[in-house]
Symmetry: C2
């Protein structure tokens, strides 16, 4: 189905880039062949320019430098925090310095949850502090804390089987995430449910607080935070993540008939919503500037670590993608719009506000890409669209595009999830792409103190920039909108 | 040189064990062949009994159950702490319950360092707490802490090049440990020098405190503690380990010309020496009970995690080795003596006291084994002896013994280090063996909060018990002392 692999050795890439970077580049004219055999057209049309983009990106770009500034100068940046404000300022300054167009902050009101001091101490059968991260959105405890016996359950069935035994206790959901496998993936999707709804399940059984085993298969006594949900009509109880190690120990002691009691103290509270913003910048289109290809990551993070993999890397991938294209003098027919979302982690207010503010414009959103799986070696894209026919056509076209990334092993192009923020554009029928990477270690760092810059490999980050820049360029420049069957005239899907 | 590999599939091992465990076992009589060709004798003589020991051990033993009790009921156990006292009590009770002989606590006075509260907070260019573990033996800071600029150096040369620039500053030794490789090992030996002598080096340059990059190649923002040294005539300054992530960040900021200031607070202090003990138990020899083969691990740990890999596992390997032999009715000619050392981590007082108290007996110490590299898959033994001739003979004999472990892949038998505690017996000419395991992840957990029971695989722990039990049995039962050339009469090396 695909043409043979295109291999661009890094050494050769460097040479190419050295030569192209030095000269002023004429705007690229793809060899459009209206009416030609469509299954190979895109790859043929864009092979030359994609080689130039990838070579130039790998020869040197500012993505890691940008990420270093974001991580080391700003640090983590939870919605409502001064650090997120600082990150927004930094992003705007950085995009302006790069000479991007229409750089702006689009206001969004975001939830404002603050952690405060927190601790969890096993007080019986012996005294031992448990490393802890309260769950985002949790209420706090009384100042003296909550001291109660812990009952450990593996899942909903074990909780149900307790009957009244959870009343007045602290329920621990000790549901291990299985190690990553290429076939089954991370298992995050199923295991994370206890972090999300554990507090509701426990409260319904009369528990006074909820602990969850951190959602990871690999821990060095590292707690992983994340958002919880409460629901109307069920009491809100405080909830926090403890480490896999401590969860396992509590379960072992319980299995030996030794009751475990802990004191949980949390100052967590939710303040009034705070002003924030999505950061937007553009590489304007030469022919149909009102047609938009969004490329994006989210600028907010949890209040732990540096938000390097989640999702500083996604942000700088998008920022640097248009920077690489601009430096090469490559201006596609449509507009590429960088959006750095606010509030992905605990509310998705940024994505929702964008879809609302740009509602009239969504019909002209040709595609939206989000990168929020880390900056590991790129593997390609997954794609979804509300309209099944357009989705099927789009996936075939996407295969043509990712065929260009054979040298990176990033040829994945299949139906699948896209991104939490761009999800708000799905009802409008926008073609949504999830930027896919090698995910075996992502959940080792996810939502922890250990999500720091050193976890990002600069070469892999650059590979992601190269892949995103090429994909955005092709999507913004291809004669027909992705998801539309090729037309005989130069047109776009909106006319069909 | 070695006979072909002996392979005992686990399945077959289980069957064997099932049959042997059910019956009362007659004391084993090795087919001693005085004067026979020595290079194959040991393996031939002990193949049958070693198969029985390994099969019975792998079919079921109490090593993991013991380790669970030590880790979960006692937890970590630093010299001088109530937990170490509790661990000593537990070990004595456990050994007595197993019916071991001469179970006793041999008194040792140990250093008594206490950590107290501690913190390290970056206060400029932005505020961020650094996870921290003060180094064992460190002095504390004034109550208000020490606030000073950090100067990061990679090694002694970079420190020297600073000239007076370290004066009044906090020196950070940011020397990365390289990832483990089969060829080069962990690199711990060289990297750890900054933890050991960094405070001295920094104080000599006028620094007011010392930070070291944690000695690990794999971190999830995990600080690694360990002992430091001070020296006469050089001011004592407080010293602590920060994570690899934070050390790298400080160095990155410094490289960009951005000064980093931290506030270091430590309550650490050294109290008067405290009473402690080595725990001793024996499987008495049938023929030469005054000749001793020591098998050992250390019972103390750092005050973080559970001391599971370092070195609870080594302790239960030794405890369970004589338990397995006793249950099988296997009593060797010489005495196998279990010693659980106190104070390996910060003083070696246990090993030194033993060598002193048993000085008159050391000539009859045939060999001593220490397991202190974790309870990962066993690989065999390294061996050292003050007397080069005896060492060479002993290594050849050891090869015969480890040949019995081909089914575990544990055939290593070569010259190399043994153990920190048994090292005190080296001057007396005792043959010292280091129990060797697959070491690729040991330093991920070493001296951290993450050294917990879940890091120990029960099957691998049992493999270690099997290997140690067989080795101890052969060393205690072989006609000639290890390191002695075979005699024509049944004798032992002491008569030569």
């Amino acid at each position: 189905m695909m043409t043979p692999h295109f291999v661009l050795p890094m050494f050769f890439a460097g040479l190419l880039a050295g030569s192209t970077a030095a000269q002023t580049v004429e705007p690229f004219k793809p060899a459009a062949k209206p009416g030609a055999e469509p299954t190979t057209t895109l790859a043929q049309q864009y092979r030359e320019v994609s080689e130039r983009i990838m070579a130039a990106t790998m020869a040197g770009n500012d993505s890691f430098k940008k990420l270093e500034q974001l991580c080391d100068d700003v640090g983590h940046r939870l919605s409502g925090s001064p650090q997120l404000d600082k990150a927004i300022e930094w992003a705007i300054d950085s995009l302006k310095r790069d000479g991007q167009e229409n750089v702006r902050a689009e206001p969004v009101m975001v939830p404002h949850w603050v952690r405060g001091e927190e601790s969890c101490t096993m007080v019986s059968p012996r005294r031992e502090p448990f490393p802890l991260l309260g769950l985002g959105g949790s209420i706090g405890t009384p100042p003296e804390g909550i001291t109660a016996q812990v009952v450990s359950v593996k899942n909903e069935e074990e909780l149900e089987a307790l009957g009244d035994a959870a009343k007045g206790k602290i329920v621990l959901f000790d549901n291990p995430m299985q190690p990553y496998s290429k076939e089954k993936g991370s298992g995050y999707g199923t295991t994370v449910r206890f972090r999300g709804k554990g507090a509701i399940l426990a409260a319904k059984k009369g528990a006074v607080a909820c602990l969850v085993r951190s959602v990871t298969a690999h821990s060095l006594r590292s707690p992983h935070t994340g958002a919880l949900r409460y629901e109307e009509g069920t009491p809100k109880i405080p909830a926090a993540a403890i480490t896999t190690e401590d969860a396992a120990m509590v379960s072992r002691l319980q299995a030996r008939g030794i009751p475990v009691t802990v004191t949980l103290k949390m100052e967590a509270k939710t303040l009034d919503p705070a002003p924030s913003a999505n950061v937007v910048a553009e590489l304007r289109g030469s022919q149909w500037p009102d047609e938009i290809v969004v490329i994006s990551g989210h600028l907010d993070s949890w209040d732990a670590g540096q938000g390097a993999q989640d999702d500083g890397g996604g942000c700088v991938q998008a920022m640097e993608s248009i920077n690489v294209l601009r430096k090469l003098g490559l201006r596609p027919k449509r507009t590429i719009r960088v959006v750095l979302w606010t509030n992905e982690e605990n509310g998705l207010a940024g994505g929702k506000q964008y879809a609302k503010d740009h509602e009239a414009e969504l019909a002209n959103h040709v595609a939206a890409i989000e990168s929020d799986g880390g900056s590991f070696r790129p593997e390609g894209y997954t794609l979804e669209c509300k309209d099944a026919d357009r989705e099927a056509v789009a996936i075939e076209q996407l295969k043509e595009i990712t065929n260009l990334f054979a040298s990176f092993g990033a040829t994945r192009a299949e139906k699948g999830g896209s991104g939490a923020d761009i999800g708000a554009m799905k009802p409008a029928g926008v073609v949504l792409l999830g930027h896919d990477v090698e995910g075996s270690t992502y959940f080792d760092y996810h939502h922890t103190l250990a999500d720091t810059l050193d976890k990002v490999n600069p070469v892999e980050l650059s590979q992601n920039v190269a892949v995103m820049a090429v994909t955005a360029y092709v999507l913004a420049d291809m004669p027909d909108r992705i998801g539309s069957r090729p037309q005989t005239q130069e047109s776009n899907g909106a006319s069909k």
